[in-house]
Amino acid sequence: MKCVLRLACVAALLPCPALAAKPTAVDIHHQLIRYRVAEEGVGRALDYSTREFVANFLEDPDSPYSALRGAPPIANEIWWSDFVDSLPFNAADKPAVALDMLQWQSGFTKARPGIEVAVDAAAARRYRGREVAANAIKAGVDADIFWKASDMNGAMSTVAAGHAVALQLLRELSRMKATTDDDQAHGIKPDVLARYLAQRNPQNIDENDQRYLADLLRYAISKGDFTVDTDGHRQLPAAYRVARVAAAYRDAKGYINANGYCLGNEPHPREPSGSDATEYNRPLCFVAATDRAVQSWFRRQMREEASSVRLAHQATDTASARLSFWLNTVLVLTDLAPFVEIGEAAVVDEMVGAGALAEDGAAFAEDRANQLTCRIRK
């Protein structure tokens, strides 16, 4: 059943020929940077900001509900078709598939039931709601993990979302490994997942298990690229997965306003839909929002929840220390997830390491990323 759902989900994201070609393992953004840097040099290839990159794909970059641009300028560049030809997969309409993959990986797509995400009645029951299911399924988190992480973290839904994605990453790692391989030799600990799912008291979650899960999530967020699940399908970059799960928890909690935030698959007309939509930490109509917009909401939601922990507990409280550990050393890394400058510097650094680019070439990309983080931290 799960396979059918996932297949349907991916079918909604990609045209049918793409499914046949199974371009699942291709990191399209990674390939794009490698291609452009090799062709143009670092300075010319990376001569843009995150905002300019986003504006290539969204009709209204300031709106969390922006539609995709019908004809993105990037796809009209004279080098685009050569780049698409260079990609290591086959598909009937390769340019369209490549564009779909880039839009999806970069967080420009939504989670509308029946459009981007297949949600049937059984899924709606498992996740206890159509919108909850749409967000959780897009995040690629199984229902048993979704609810257990919620049970173990109560009101701290952003930390619960981190636990859920970390547990799911562990499940994917465990299942993908060849059965003959030694778990220990690969640093995979399936018993951590089993213990967590069997746990009834959050205070009894093993300290080392929490650290291991935090390591897995920190790694996935830092890598920034997509992951491949047990069915061989691509999953969103980890930071967007965490944000989508937190959104699902928010939808599951329900709203006290009369209209909610959605009307069908669209934002409610009485709610703001521009850049002011997330002011005062207002929830979004998450299924209609792009992954990037959900991540922006998550950033504020995480701070609201974290500030309430500090008010509610003493510094020496064990629960508070564990929550702070997740917030301060793992989830805070999601803040920079939407910025292309960070991941692109890593790709250029990798090219230097592989001898495909002179070391001087890395300086531009490194400075571009460093300047960004410096301005944010200053």
């Binding site: 080392n208 830092s222 990323a369």
Partner: protein, 321 residues
């Protein structure tokens, strides 16, 4: 009553088994190349742990506002290049199984590392000094009494040691079965952990005859390998140490698929560590991870700065060193 008696018999049996096992076997720790996302994730976690200690120290000691770009290149290098190791020691006591995890990085105390960097030099410095591959722990380095004292004092910058997690600091080599091996490589991450385990056995914090599973970010050095033999034989420890083996530069890639995969994992870990250092160690921008502001004006200003960058279309002024 019967159940309790049975339980006690079982516990005694397990204890006797564990003791006889440790006495019957001299112990052996196998060292092998390894690869995989699980290992990279754990070692990246170790690297973050030690980098965050530097962040805390720099922020608290007021060093974060001085130094030119050369100095900060060296700070970044010092935080992302040392070998890091994580070893899990599982032992049985009173019929119950416990696991204690040891964390270590190569090299001397942070104060000693930072004292080698000139934070008073004027000007902007140059970009040189950011490259290189040799970590502090890869070079022979003799740990002094002063290093040990400083390292001990720096425990306030690390998470508090618990029953299950402990940072392995520099320890004096006296009265150690590893003494002769620790003379010139006492700063190696693996040796620090071996010495801490030896110390924990001596203080009865852990039992001898346990099982060790270790992960190390670089190939285990010869003296550390010899020390693992001494540790295993002296205390009846069995186990495995999995090492990431860096691909050698300027030579063809290894044919052995395990070494090839290990080299790829090593490169991935290095890239992650370098990126973390690049985004967290810059003059005037170093923050204490334990003091992240989640509420009030400071938190809102941080969000505002992120959102301003997301909306930025124009070039910004240069920032920091």
């Amino acid at each position: 009553m019967t159940n309790r008696t049975t339980l006690n018999v079982l516990r005694l049996g397990a204890l006797a088994w564990s003791l006889s096992a440790s006495m019957a076997h001299a112990g052996k720790i196998a060292i092998a190349p390894a690869a995989g996302e699980g290992i990279v994730a754990m070692l990246n976690g170790e690297s973050t742990l030690f980098a965050n200690a530097y962040r805390t120290m720099l922020a608290k000691e007021g060093i974060a506002t001085t130094g030119n770009s050369t100095a900060w290149n060296r700070v970044r290098f010092a935080t992302h290049s040392p070998t890091v190791a994580r070893m899990e020691y599982t032992f049985v006591r009173n019929g119950r199984q416990f696991t204690r995890i040891y964390h270590a990085r190569s090299g001397p105390a942070m104060e000693v590392v930072l004292s080698r960097i000139d934070f008073t030099a004027p000007g902007n410095g140059s970009r040189s000094g950011s490259s290189g591959t040799e970590s502090e722990g890869s070079r022979p380095y003799k740990i002094t009494e002063e290093d040990i004292a400083k390292d001990f004092a720096e425990r306030k910058y690390y998470p508090i040691d618990t029953e299950f997690n402990v940072r392995a600091p520099n320890l004096p080599p006296q009265d150690s079965v590893l003494e002769s091996l620790a003379t010139n490589n006492g700063g190696d991450a693996e040796l620090k952990i071996f010495r801490q385990i030896e110390n924990d056995i001596a203080t009865k914090t852990v039992s001898r005859g346990g099982r060790l599973v270790g992960y190390v970010s670089k190939a285990v050095c010869q003296s550390c390998s010899a020390a693992s033999v001494a540790l295993a034989e002296s205390f009846g420890i069995e186990g495995h140490i999995y090492q990431l083996v860096e691909a050698a530069t300027g030579v063809p890639l290894p044919r052995d698929p395990k070494l090839l995969a290990s080299g790829e994992s090593s490169a991935e870990l290095k890239s992650l560590r370098k990126a973390y250092a690049a985004s967290h160690f810059k003059r005037d921008t170093v923050t204490d991870p334990g003091e992240t502001s989640w509420a009030g004006t400071e938190a809102l200003e941080h969000i505002d700065r992120i959102e301003a960058e997301e909306a930025r279309t124009a070039l910004a002024a240069p920032c920091g060193d």
